[in-house]
Amino acid sequence: MSNEVALLSSAVLLVTAVVALYSKRISVSLIMLFYSSLTLGIIFTLYGSVVVGLLHIITFAGAVSVLMLTAVLMIGESKLEMNASASAVALLGALLVAVVVASYVLLSGLPGGSTLANNLPAAGLFQFLWQFRPWDLLILLMVFASSMVVVVNLFSREES
């Protein structure tokens, strides 16, 4: 499978996810989320896992989308206008770029990582981690993710 397919499908996935999360109209968000789940199912199917791909499409593009649509219809779309502030969108855009760059550097230790990333000073460490201590790295990532969840929880409690 060529890289173009992976790049194109990743771009579609990211764009649909961003539009779904930051659109002001809930109907647009729902449609984009539907396309996002469809794209992910197509990726699974393209890379040889037809059952998982079909299950993903049936579950998320089918059942969950209909469930969400039903919930929105019960509540009423006019009451669900979502206004994302420009500063929040800008902050999240910057965060997203930082995450992409950081994960690119971190994951460069994987076999098949790019030569550009492999020339970075920390690449040797990440190569060692990926090749000899992958489960430790996974645990490290889990700890980091759980700490982010705690930070999010603190943010959400700030307003009360």
Binding site: M1, N3, V5, A6, L7, S10, L13, L14, A17, V18, A20, L21, Y22, S29, L33, S36, L40, F44, Y47, S49, V51, V52, L55, T59, F60, A63, V64, L67, M68, A71, V72, M74, I75, K79, L80, M82, A84, A88, L92, L96, V99, V100, S103, Y104, L107, L110, P111, G112, G113, S114, W130, Q131, A145, M148, V149, V152, F155, S156, E159, S160
Partner: protein, 107 residues
């Protein structure tokens, strides 16, 4: 040459953090569920792409990877279904989907 695995890992990480960030700034419970769904997509993509590794890669085997994605799909969909049911019930009781407003009305 960048491998497909690297591209999908980076995309998966970006999606997880995108969902996490949107969840932290969200003032609408439906949007919170959508952010959760994007996070689940990211996790599924990451688990799936971990089966791409070459013979020397410390990746999961395809069978384990597909099983984990399967499990993640089932759990993610169930959580979203329960979450949406709770959201509808909360809206009927409080008339709003803003978490801080709901917290204020509860007291």
């Amino acid at each position: 040459m960048v491998s497909d695995q690297l591209i999908y890992f980076v995309t998966a990480t970006a999606m997880v953090f995108l969902g996490l960030g949107a969840m932290s700034f969200s003032r609408n419970l439906i949007k919170t569920i959508m952010s959760f769904q994007v996070m689940v997509f990211g996790v599924n993509l990451g688990l799936f792409s971990s089966s791409f590794g070459s013979t020397s890669a410390p990746a999961l085997g395809p069978l384990l990877s597909y099983s984990l994605v399967f499990f993640s799909i089932i759990v993610g969909a169930s959580v979203e279904a329960v979450g949406l049911a709770i959201i509808v019930a909360v809206y009927r009781k409080y008339g709003t989907l803003n978490p801080s407003e709901i917290r204020r009305l509860r007291h």
